[in-house]
């Protein structure tokens, strides 16, 4: 009987000690595992911390599905998500309106309405940056062949130009990946022209391009990838819109905003200033210069007067 009594006593002591404290719930911030998502989450965290919230930093949390389940199951309160990603993955059994994903405003409105209705999630103001997939080439290569847009690239391919493209497997195989570009711009890449890196990230495909592995001369990339700056590559523009719009946006559980209605007014101005160029620079400072995401996020907020 003695061990039980001791255990009970310990529990009582623990609980009574516990009850003597008590403080407000922290805001739990998650992120995906790549640099941009981490930096965005840190921006959210430091901005809120500055006005007195307690922050529980859960970055990096995992892939898209882990973050989404965590948010839906109230394991975290917020994480930055991309509009295009959400439309592509979270509504598998819904027929989305034609052309929705290529229209930034319509995409956002759709998510604002339906994610609130279905999962009680609130999308705050999106950033103007569009972190879409794209094609990157070396600057010398672009200059030699006069490449700036995907139209130029299609012309180069159709004229019989050599291509070896480093890409992740998903981008190579999904209908809204390389295939969407091929259809819209009218060119075709043979299987032999693809160097597929399983689960490859832009950092990895760009590294392959930099090292010229297997004569790689094109690489899959994100438009805002910091490594593009490091390697001095050129990202070909997508004037016809082959890709969905990927605007990064803080997504909150609506209960959190209901309880703290001042949050949108704090975060919206910050996100509105995040253009492709800004994100590329922030990403580069982490990936290329080797600064920590915390230092980069804090100094950005300070320099732009978001911290008091």
């Amino acid at each position: 009987m003695r061990p039980i009594a001791i255990t009970l006593f310990a529990l009582v002591v623990l609980l009574s000690g516990a009850l003597s404290y008590a403080q407000a719930d922290p805001i739990r911030v998650g992120s995906k595992q790549f640099t941009e998502s981490i930096v965005l989450a840190k921006l959210i965290g430091y901005a809120l911390e500055d006005v007195g919230f307690t922050i529980d930093d859960r970055t990096p949390l995992g892939g898209t599905d882990v973050n989404r389940s965590a948010l839906v199951n109230a394991e975290i309160d917020v994480y930055p998500e991309y509009t295009g990603t959400a439309l592509g993955l979270f509504f598998p059994d819904v027929e989305l309106p034609e052309g929705l994903t290529r229209d930034a405003e319509a995409s956002y409105d759709y998510l604002l309405e339906h994610d609130l209705e279905r999962d009680r999630l609130l999308w705050l103001a999106p950033a103007p940056a569009n972190n879409t997939y794209g094609f990157a080439v070396r600057r010398a290569f672009a200059e030699e062949h006069g490449l700036t847009t995907m139209e130029d690239f299609a012309e180069y391919v159709n004229a019989g130009g050599e291509v070896m493209m480093a890409t992740g497997d998903e981008f190579a195989q999904r209908p809204d990946g390389i295939a969407a570009f091929e259809e819209l711009y009218g060119f075709e890449l043979a299987d032999e022209a693809l160097l597929i890196i399983a689960a490859g990230t832009p950092a990895q495909t760009l590294q392959a391009l930099d090292q010229g592995a297997n004569d790689t001369n094109v690489a899959m990339t994100f438009a805002t990838e910091g490594a593009v700056v490091a390697y001095d590559f050129v990202v070909l523009t997508d004037p016809r819109g082959a890709q969905p719009i990927f605007n990064p946006t803080p997504v909150f559980r609506v209960e959190v905003i209901d309880a703290n209605p001042e949050i949108p007014a704090i975060l919206n101005p910050i996100f509105e200033g995040l253009t492709n160029e800004v994100l590329q620079e922030l990403n580069a400072r982490v990936d290329v210069d080797g600064e920590s995401p915390d230092a980069v996020a804090r100094s950005y907020l300070e320099e732009h007067g978001f911290l008091n």
């Binding site: 000690g17 970055t59 990096p60 389940s69 394991e75 930099d210 490091a230 210069d289 920590s292």
Partner: protein, 548 residues
């Protein structure tokens, strides 16, 4: 022993790789690749060639006759080579970094340029260590004094650590990375250690229990061993996915209702067991199986629930105990450190002491030291629990999430790690107990030991070496698996490793991998020392007590 072949091999490896392979790569920034540099490309003076000469000197020494002098010379050369292979390129690197812009040319983003150690340097270190190892072997064979052996084994490493602390290695890319992200390194390392420690402690209780059950119950043993084997084959990512939703749901529940459910389930198990005891003999076939299954399930569910809560809670609390900045905990940590150092010191002194009475009082003092360590640890954990539960307003609103159970984060990681630790622990406990000589158990029985006495005094001590081998297996494996915890946001050194893979930053990978390797080695050494303390010299495999 004629020629010291080990030293010759090390010397050749070091000499050839230092001379023919690039030592470092000058990188303009964290990502972009840079320019390789060979030993002969280092500008300045001839001192860099000394490295090459030093690498080949062991060839001459290794031909001497085997004695303490040869061992000392080889160990000295190995240590010098170990240090200089890191030090000289760093000195040359400072010059290179100063001229980085000129070397790398236009068009690259030159920010935080750094030196990535290349193949030549890595193989050079390996060769240096091989020479050192050859020397140490000579010293051991020749029966050199202990102090000389210790100095020979650790001297070079000490120089490296001192140079690193004084900032001489700041040019190397891992150090640059450390300076940018190092603030998190301590926290991540503590998380990693806590993952392993908590999972191992709980796994030990469960694993030894299951192993004992498998040993006692012939019918259960294949089922138990099969099940823990199956767990091992589930990929950790899948396991995290499986755990996410139920743990999140469990987290939402009120602690009081879960406790009630727990008690109810245990009562059901007890009732079913009582039923089985009374009418079980008369039941046949299927009915009997059903009752047995009912007992097992209704007993297993609360055990599993309880384990989940205990594992999650202990992880959060022990992490807090070792990282919280609260002054009470900081003081307790200092006290723990003092107690640990005192206890280890006394324990070492016990071994040296030859006089019987002095030895006994030293041993008693050492136990007091260990006791003090245990007490401060418990106090720290209690204090940390209070801190952790500080947010809870009342026992009535206490949810399981407040106890640390959640669908993402440390809870599923600790639970998954606990499950992964089971196979080596269960298997080794089972094997250890099963392999105890039946004659020994029979004489214990014949001398009038009760079953618990036989277990504690005979079976457990005799199975201990095998069980401890399982503990070491499990712990080293866990250090590796814990790196996956980052994918559910649980932290740990995996943050650096996986982040580095995603970002193709070798420096970031190394920042996580090097501490993980050191951790595994250290843990193994600590567990070996524990084994030395716990296992009787009479059955130690490599003890001093050899048959006479």
């Amino acid at each position: 022993m004629p020629v010291n072949r080990v030293a010759v091999l090390g010397s050749l490896i070091a000499g050839l790789s230092l001379f023919f392979l690039p030592l470092v790569e000058l990188k303009p920034n964290r990502l972009a690749s840079g320019i390789p540099f060979f030993l002969l490309q280092f500008e300045g003076d001839v001192r860099y060639l000394a490295l090459f000469v030093l690498a080949l000197l062991p060839l001459v020494v290794a031909l001497r006759r085997a004695d303490v002098v040869r061992g000392a010379l080889l160990a000295g050369l190995g240590n010098a080579l170990l240090f200089l292979t890191l030090y000289l390129p760093a000195v040359a690197g400072e010059v290179l970094l100063a001229d980085a812009a000129a070397w790398l040319g236009e068009g690259v983003r030159l920010s935080n340029p750094r030196l990535l150690p290349s193949a030549g340097l890595a193989l050079g270190l390996f060769g240096a260590y091989t020479v050192l190892y050859g020397g140490l072997r000579d010293l051991v064979v020749a029966g050199a004094p202990r102090s000389l052996r210790v100095a020979a084994a650790w001297g070079g490493l000490l120089l490296v650590v001192l140079a690193a602390l004084s900032g001489r290695f700041d040019v190397y890319s891992v150090v640059v990375e450390f300076q940018a992200r190092g603030q998190q390194l301590a926290q991540r390392t503590v998380e990693h250690v806590m993952f392993v420690a908590v999972a191992l402690s709980i796994g030990l209780v469960l694993g030894v229990g299951l192993g004992l059950w498998a040993h006692r119950d012939r019918r259960a043993s294949p089922v138990i061993l099969y099940l823990v084997g199956i767990i091992q084959t589930v990929p950790s990512l899948a396991l995290f996915g499986v755990l996410l939703v139920p743990l999140a749901r469990l987290g939402d529940q009120l602690a009081t209702s879960v406790a009630l459910a727990l008690v109810a389930s245990l009562a059901l198990a007890a009732a079913a067991l009582a039923l089985y005891r009374t009418i079980g003999q008369r039941l046949r076939g299927a009915a009997r199986q059903v009752v047995l299954l009912l007992v097992t399930v209704s007993a297993a569910v609360p055990v599993a629930l309880f384990t989940v809560v205990v594992a999650s809670f202990s992880f959060r609390v022990s992490l807090l105990a070792f990282t919280s900045a609260a002054p009470a905990l900081a003081n307790l940590r200092s006290a723990m450190l003092v107690a640990l150092i005192a206890a280890v010191g006394l324990q070492l002194a016990v071994r040296r002491q030859r006089v019987d009475t002095a030895r006994r009082s030293l041993a008693r003092a050492a136990w007091v030291g260990w006791g003090a360590l245990a007490v401060t640890l418990v106090v720290a954990l209690v204090t940390a629990s209070q801190l952790f539960l500080a947010r809870v307003e009342s026992a009535a609103t206490l949810t399981v999430r407040d106890l640390g159970v959640s669908g993402i984060g440390p809870a599923p990681a600790v639970i998954a790690l606990t499950l992964y630790s089971l196979l080596p622990l269960v298997r080794n406990t089972y094997a250890g107990l099963t392999n105890v000589d039946p004659a020994v158990i029979d004489s214990g029985r014949g001398m009038g030991m009760s079953a618990p006495q036989r277990f504690m005094q005979i079976e457990l001590p005799l199975a201990l070496p095998v069980i401890m081998a399982g503990v070491r297996n499990a712990s080293v494996a866990l250090v590796g698996i814990a790196a996956i915890a980052t994918v559910i946001g649980a932290g740990g050194l995996g943050d650096f490793i996986l982040g580095g893979i995603i970002n193709t930053s070798i420096d970031q990978i190394l920042l996580g991998a090097i501490p993980a390797v050191l951790l595994a080695v250290l843990l193994d050494a600590v567990l070996r020392a524990t084994e030395q303390l716990l296992v009787s010299p009479g059955i130690r495999v490599s003890g001093e007590a050899a048959p006479s």
